[in-house]
Subunit: 155 residues, 2 copies
Amino acid sequence: MKKIYYSYSKLRDDLKALTKKIDRPFDTIIPIARGGLTIAHLLGEYYDIREVYAINTIGYNDTQKLDSVEVFNIPNLKNTKSALIVDDIVDSGDTLIAVLDILQKRYPDIQFYSASIFYKKSAKIAPTWYLKEANEWIDFFWSVDLKDKNDIDDR
Amino acid sequence: MKKIYYSYSKLRDDLKALTKKIDRPFDTIIPIARGGLTIAHLLGEYYDIREVYAINTIGYNDTQKLDSVEVFNIPNLKNTKSALIVDDIVDSGDTLIAVLDILQKRYPDIQFYSASIFYKKSAKIAPTWYLKEANEWIDFFWSVDLKDKNDIDDR
């Protein structure tokens, strides 16, 4: 599969574009860890939202049964009216579905939106806002930059 | 006060240097949101640790009483033996003291370490590992880059 390197400068430009698409208000940002952490950090600063509350998931692949996602460290949203769930990529959609499902059940009065940079057309759910379709493997800078032995200017 | 811009490329290089200083093992990374989120994301990928569990704090300034810090969204650490708490800067030290205090009380058997990029000599506590002393105001890239109207190459 083709691999692309996704640099910090690309993320910065893409987040500027994403904020132009996001057209509903929210008071809380919920990054799905780890993929959504850096994005949520930058968006929290941009929107001046201190309520950035991470959530964790683990995906289980089991050939005997359907893939399942465990959601944990669910934040306390007692003061939230509207929240933006963020992730780097919506791939199968299983993670976003599981997170939305547990949050909507626990907080039926909160309006949840979702946003990602990348989205695969084959996913079972689309986020409310996304920027790009993903057709190749993406090496996000946060995954590879500390491991690199050679410094490359653009990074 | 003098202001310095702290770019992503500086963070990448500083985190490479920080990982060379960190000389104890840990199985969980706890970013203090928002400041520690991006750092924890990169370190989680570098160390191949999926257990990146954020924690939230709010600082209260009240002229009538001492400054206080509320700590909330405390992660479940039932499988953790040793955790690294991370933040961008240890300034007064109040936040790190409050986080350590609540985590150590709740999880007396876990070994907690802490790491930050910046540290002020005047802080009441030093993190286990830090890289640089902070003597000026730091505009971290995550705080300013999306707000910038002009693109600057280094960012």
